[in-house]
Symmetry: C2
Subunit: 343 residues, 2 copies
C-alpha cells in the first residue's frame, strides 16, 4: 500500500483532501469545513462551532507554560475563532487527556485558567471529557457562539477596493516564544541562572496569555460595521492573507509601513537578528483579526482606535507586500523565506 | 504542595470537584455539565452538545481495531449521547492528533469510517482539527443535535412508579472485547495462528461497530412518548441506574429475569466463566438506552419491540436487583463485586 507522509501534504493540504469526501445532509448546515467556525442555522440566528486541539510538545512546552496559562489560552484561542466570524462566544466544552504524571491539583490549576477565561469572556463551560493517556497532556476545546444572520463575516466576502485592516499589533507573540525558548536554554545550561523575562514582559504576555478579540466584535456592532471578510491571525499575517485571497477570489496589497508593530517587538526582533516583517508575516499566534471593510465604512472604522488599515483589496489575485522603499514583494505561503532572500 | 492521584478521585469524583467552580453567565445555557449532552436554548428548539475523547491504549487497541471501525465508532458513541437526550444529531466536529507513525492513507481510513457513520446518521462533518503528537492517536468528537423543548429527556426526571426500560440487548460489547483480547493473546503467542472470530461475530460486531440508538428517538416520537428520564448505557447498567437515581432522587428495582441478553452473550459468558449479569451490570459499551416511562405510556411502549421493561422506579432511593431466585441485591458502584461475592 502506498504510504504518504503527513509532511508531504501539510495541514491545509490534508484538510483539502479530506474535505473532498465530506457530504452535507442537513439543511441547517450553512457552512462546514473551511472557515474559522462552522455555521449552523438555528432559526432566529446562526450558531457558530469552532474546535481546537492543543498537544503537549507540539503546541505548548510545560517547562515554561504554567498550567493556569495553558487553560486560559486554550479558551482564548477559541474565542478568537468565534470573533473571526463576527460572533460572540457563549459556551465551551473542554476535553483533557493526561498521563498519571499529572495530579488532581495539576488538573485543578488548568481549570483555574479555564474558569478565569470563561469569566473574562462570559462563556459557560457546559461539558467535556477527562481521560487518561499513556504520556503527555492534550486539550480539545469546542466553542459555541452566536451571530445574527446579517452580521456574519466569512473569509469569502472580500471585494475589490475594500480596505484591509488588522486589530492590535502584530509579531509580539512569536518573539515572546523566542524569549521563552532562549531562557529555557539558559536554564538548562545552568539551573542556577534566573530567567530574565522582565524586560520582555509584553512579548511573553502576548505568547502566554493571548486574548481573542471579542471586544472588536462589540466595537464593530456599535459602529454598524459588518466586515466583508474576516479571519483571525493565528498562523502569521501571510497565511491569513492567502486564506482570504483564496476564499474570496481577490488579491491584497499590503503596505509594510502601515503594519502596526510595537516598539518592543522591533527592538527584540533586532536582538534576535530577525526582520520584524518576517516575524509578522509568518510568526503566528497573535490572535488579532484581519478583516476587509467596504470603502463606505472606512470613516466609521477610523473611530475604532484598535483597528489599523494596512492595505486594500484588488481584483487580480496577486498578494503583494509594498516595502518601505516602494519595492513590491509577492506574498506566498513561504513568504518569509522569500523576504529573507531579498535582504 | 499536596498531590492527589487521579485514581483516588475517579472520573466522576473529578467531574464533581471541577463542577464546583463552574459559573454560568449565559441565559441561553439551559443545562451544563452533568447529563449526556449540554442543552442550549436556540429560541425555537434546544441545541444539544456532547463531546468525547478517545485515546489509543486507553479506549482502543489498534492491534485489533481497524482504523475504519475506529472512525465509525467515534461518531456512533456521540450519536448515542444525543439520542440519550431524546435528540437527533445534526453535525459533528472531529479533531485528531497522531504521531508520524501514521500515514495520510491511515488518516483517510479513519475518515472513511467517519464518513460512513455520517452517512448512516445523516450528520454533517462541519469542522475539526488535525495535529501531530509525539506518540499515539487520539480523537476528539463533538456532536451537535436538536430536540424540541417539549421532548427533551434529562437524567433528572424519573418519578416513582415509572417503568424502567432498556433498548436492544446488553452485555454483548464487553464480551466482544474479551474475545478480541483473547485472540490478540493467541496471536502474540503464535503469529501463525489465525484469529477465530467467526463464532463470535455478533459480540465482536457489537464491540467494534456499535450504533447510537437514534432509531429509538424516532420510534418514541412516532408513538408520542417522551421518556421521563433517559441515559445511554456506556459504562454498564449499574453505573447508569445510579446516575438516574442520583439525578432524579429516586430508586430503581430491576428484575434480572427481564434483562434482555442474547443467547450468544449467555454462552460466551459461560465460556469465559463470568456471570452474564455481572457483564451486563458493569461491562459497558453497549450504547443502548436506559429510560423511565410514565405508567400511562406503558401500553404505547409495548408497541416498540426494541424496548424492554426491566423494572420500576421507587420513591425510596434504594437501587435493587431482584435475582431469578427472588433474592434482592443492592446495586452499587462496585455492583459487580458484590454480585460475585454473593455467588
Amino acid at each position: 500500500m502506498k504510504r504518504t507522509e503527513l509532511g508531504e501534504l501539510g495541514e491545509f493540504g490534508l484538510i483539502d483532501r479530506l474535505k473532498e469526501n465530506v457530504k452535507i445532509y442537513q439543511p441547517s448546515t450553512v457552512f462546514g469545513i473551511g472557515d474559522d467556525a462552522a455555521v449552523i442555522d438555528s432559526g432566529t440566528h446562526y450558531t457558530l462551532v469552532s474546535t481546537d486541539m492543543l498537544v503537549e510538545g507540539v503546541h505548548f512546552d510545560l517547562s515554561y507554560v504554567p498550567l493556569k496559562h495553558l487553560g486560559y489560552k486554550a479558551i482564548a484561542v477559541n474565542m478568537s475563532d468565534i470573533a473571526a466570524m463576527n460572533g460572540i462566544p457563549k459556551q465551551v466544552t473542554v476535553s483533557i487527556s493526561l498521563s498519571n504524571r499529572f495530579s488532581v491539583e495539576a488538573i485543578e490549576e488548568i481549570y483555574e485558567g479555564i474558569n478565569a477565561a470563561c469569566e473574562n469572556y462570559k462563556v459557560d463551560l457546559v461539558g467535556g471529557d477527562t481521560t487518561s493517556t499513556r504520556a503527555g497532556l492534550a486539550l480539545s476545546i469546542t466553542a459555541i457562539g452566536e451571530v445574527s444572520k446579517e452580521a456574519i463575516s466569512y473569509r469569502k466576502g472580500a471585494k475589490a477596493n475594500d480596505v484591509l485592516c488588522v486589530t492590535g499589533d502584530l509579531g509580539a507573540a512569536y518573539l515572546g516564544l523566542q524569549v521563552l525558548e532562549r531562557e529555557k536554554q539558559v536554564f538548562l545550561d545552568n539551573p542556577e541562572m534566573k530567567p530574565e523575562l522582565n524586560d520582555h514582559e509584553y512579548l511573553v504576555g502576548r505568547q502566554l496569555k493571548p486574548e481573542g478579540r471579542t471586544d472588536i466584535v462589540h466595537d464593530l456592532k456599535e459602529k454598524g460595521i459588518v466586515p466583508t471578510s474576516m479571519i483571525d491571525i493565528s498562523d502569521g499575517l501571510a497565511s491569513e492573507i492567502l486564506h482570504i485571497s483564496k476564499a474570496s477570489g481577490v488579491g491584497m496589497t499590503v503596505f509594510v509601513d502601515n503594519i502596526p508593530i510595537e516598539n518592543k517587538t522591533l527592538t527584540t526582533a533586532n536582538e534576535f537578528n530577525v526582520n520584524p516583517i518576517t516575524v509578522v508575516m509568518n510568526g503566528g499566534e497573535d490572535y488579532e483579526l484581519l478583516m476587509t471593510i467596504s470603502q463606505e465604512d472606512y470613516e466609521k472604522v477610523k473611530a475604532i482606535p484598535e483597528i489599523t488599515p494596512i492595505g486594500f483589496v484588488t481584483e487580480d489575485k496577486n498578494n503583494i507586500l509594498v516595502t518601505n522603499s516602494g519595492e513590491k514583494v509577492s506574498i506566498t505561503a513561504q513568504g518569509w523565506n522569500h523576504l529573507q532572500d531579498k535582504e
